[in-house]
């Protein structure tokens, strides 16, 4: 592997630990994952055991990994964010504008709505909806997966306009000039399924937030239904409340 640079002033262990730090931060190794053992390190990078041990020592000091006696080295680092419950609708904007994440559109299709979606959006059987599946993330790590349902009657020619607006509220408010008024959110704790395992790079037996939001306009008509999936490790919800 071409990580080590002989000409560099930095010692090997520092070069290795910086490379590992980058891999951990971008999600190549996720929280709790086992890292190669010292002897495996020796073989992969062709370095001495001492250098391998120094690398893990350095990472340990930075709080990126921890060791279990007799088991090996594991990733302890995980990024996390706190979201005020009153501003949950800003989560996309926060990820895109504050944390410089990218949006990946995974699916964009027209579907005939059935029971659950029709009920939430107050549509009749046989009406059509856009169904968009998208993920937000940085490099290798996605942190938010969304299932969006937008009724075709409210959003004509969406396929041409959708990519111009980085967040859903901006699409609805600036793109289509609807006045958003309120959001009804339901918060669930859930299990990871195969879809989340692949897209959010989570492991089975990890916890997951599922937040179901319905967007309402000024005349109390539901205009969008979004199912958010967020890693439980990554997100904490916060709220301050007065006792009446």
């Amino acid at each position: 592997m071409q990580i080590l640079n002989k000409q560099s002033k930095n010692p090997y262990y520092l070069q290795l630990s910086q490379a590992f730090e980058k891999m951990i931060k971008t999600g190549y190794f996720s929280h709790g994952e086992k890292l190669p053992t010292l002897t495996e390190m020796r073989e992969i990078f062709n370095v001495s055991l001492k250098v391998a041990a120094q690398t893990y020592d350095d990472l340990n000091r930075k709080g990126m990994i921890f060791s279990k006696r007799g088991k090996g080295f594991f990733v302890s680092y995980h990024e996390s964010i706190s979201i005020d419950l009153n501003y949950f609708y800003q989560i996309e904007a926060e990820l895109v504008h504050e944390m410089n994440m990218e949006r990946h559109i995974l699916l964009f299709e027209k579907v005939e709505v059935d029971g659950y979606v029709a009920e939430q959006l107050e549509l009749g059987e046989g009406d059509y909806c856009y169904h968009i599946k998208q993920a937000f993330g940085k490099e290798l790590k996605n942190v938010l997966l969304e299932d969006i349902y937008l009724p075709i009657s409210h959003f004509p020619k969406l396929n041409k306009n959708y990519e111009k607006y980085p967040t859903l509220p901006s699409l609805i408010m600036s793109g289509y000039r609807y006045n958003l008024d309120s959001f009804s959110n339901k918060y669930f704790s859930s299990h990871v399924s195969i879809e989340h395992e692949i897209i959010l790079k989570l492991q089975m037996n990890e916890s997951l937030w599922r937040v179901e939001s319905v967007f309402y306009t000024k005349d109390h008509k539901p205009i969008a239904l979004v199912n958010h999936y967020l890693s439980g490790e990554y997100v904490t919800m916060e709220v301050m409340l007065d006792v009446d």
Binding site: Y89, Y116, S184, F188, H191, N205, S207, R210, M237, L241
Partner: protein
């Protein structure tokens, strides 16, 4: 979403665990995952029994237990449906006075005092310990029950530095509510609290206390209590049951 139930349920005929328990535990974790949604139809007991080639009585037993634990319900044609989250956790009124919340559900509230002790904390991700010279806290853990069933687990920490009177509390104070004592001796009134809500998976000890299966997801709530002068007077952890959900509407 459609799920091939016959591929989801694996029966180990050599296992000592009864077949209906095997079916139940596998369906329970499937129904609490994100793969099924509310009100989705689930396979009928007799067709599942036929597909797995096991007696109907065993499957029916598992389904009865699922119905009792509010994972499924039947419509008028006795077709089973998924109820994903039978219990709404109204964080914003019911968590403050848990007993009132349980009463409002039409259930009889009660609580067990699990532990009452003085602990010296070395580290904590909830309590900013560097703000306290005396690291001793009165730790009180309680399990709230609704109709005798575990409902909510609460663990509170009162700083001894602020309330030295707490050191004198004997075990016969066990059933008393501490806020009354705080009000009497320290003129402290509970005015507001700050909540940090995480999702977590139930593990060993806690799943035993709450009587739920290991590995099911629920909420963990970190609470910080403020008095009328906006000073912190108590820290607490709370754990909800799995299959709770909560609603929080926002108006722009």
């Amino acid at each position: 979403m459609s799920i091939e139930y016959k591929n989801e349920v694996m029966i180990d005929r050599r296992s000592k665990k009864p077949i209906h328990e095997q079916i139940y535990s596998q369906l329970e974790s499937l129904l609490s995952s994100a793969r099924v949604i509310n009100n989705e139809a689930i396979i009928k007991a007799d067709s599942l029994a036929k597909k797995l080639n096991i007696p109907l009585a065993e499957v029916q037993k598992a389904y009865d237990l699922l119905e009792k634990n509010k994972f499924i319900k039947y419509d008028e044609f006795s077709k089973p449906y998924v109820i994903k989250y039978a219990r709404i956790l109204d964080f914003f009124t019911k968590l403050i006075f848990i007993e009132d919340g349980i009463k409002s559900l039409g259930k009889e509230p009660s609580f067990d005092n699990m532990e009452l002790e003085i602990v010296e904390l070395e580290e904590s991700n909830l309590i900013p310990l560097n703000e306290y010279n005396d690291k001793r806290f009165l730790r009180q853990s309680r399990l709230f029950r609704a109709d005798g069933e575990p409902y909510f687990y609460l663990e509170e920490f009162y700083p001894i530095e602020r309330f030295p009177k707490m050191l004198e509390l004997k075990s016969d104070f066990k059933d008393k509510i501490y806020w009354a004592i705080l009000q009497k001796y320290y003129d402290i009134e509970f005015v507001r609290n700050k909540r940090k809500i995480n999702v977590h998976l139930f593990d060993g000890e806690l799943s035993k206390i709450m009587n739920v299966k290991k590995g099911l997801p629920g909420f963990k709530i970190d609470l910080v209590y403020y008095d009328q002068n906006n000073k912190v007077f108590c820290y607490a952890y709370a754990y909800s049951l799995p299959h709770f959900y909560f609603e929080y509407d926002v108006k722009l």
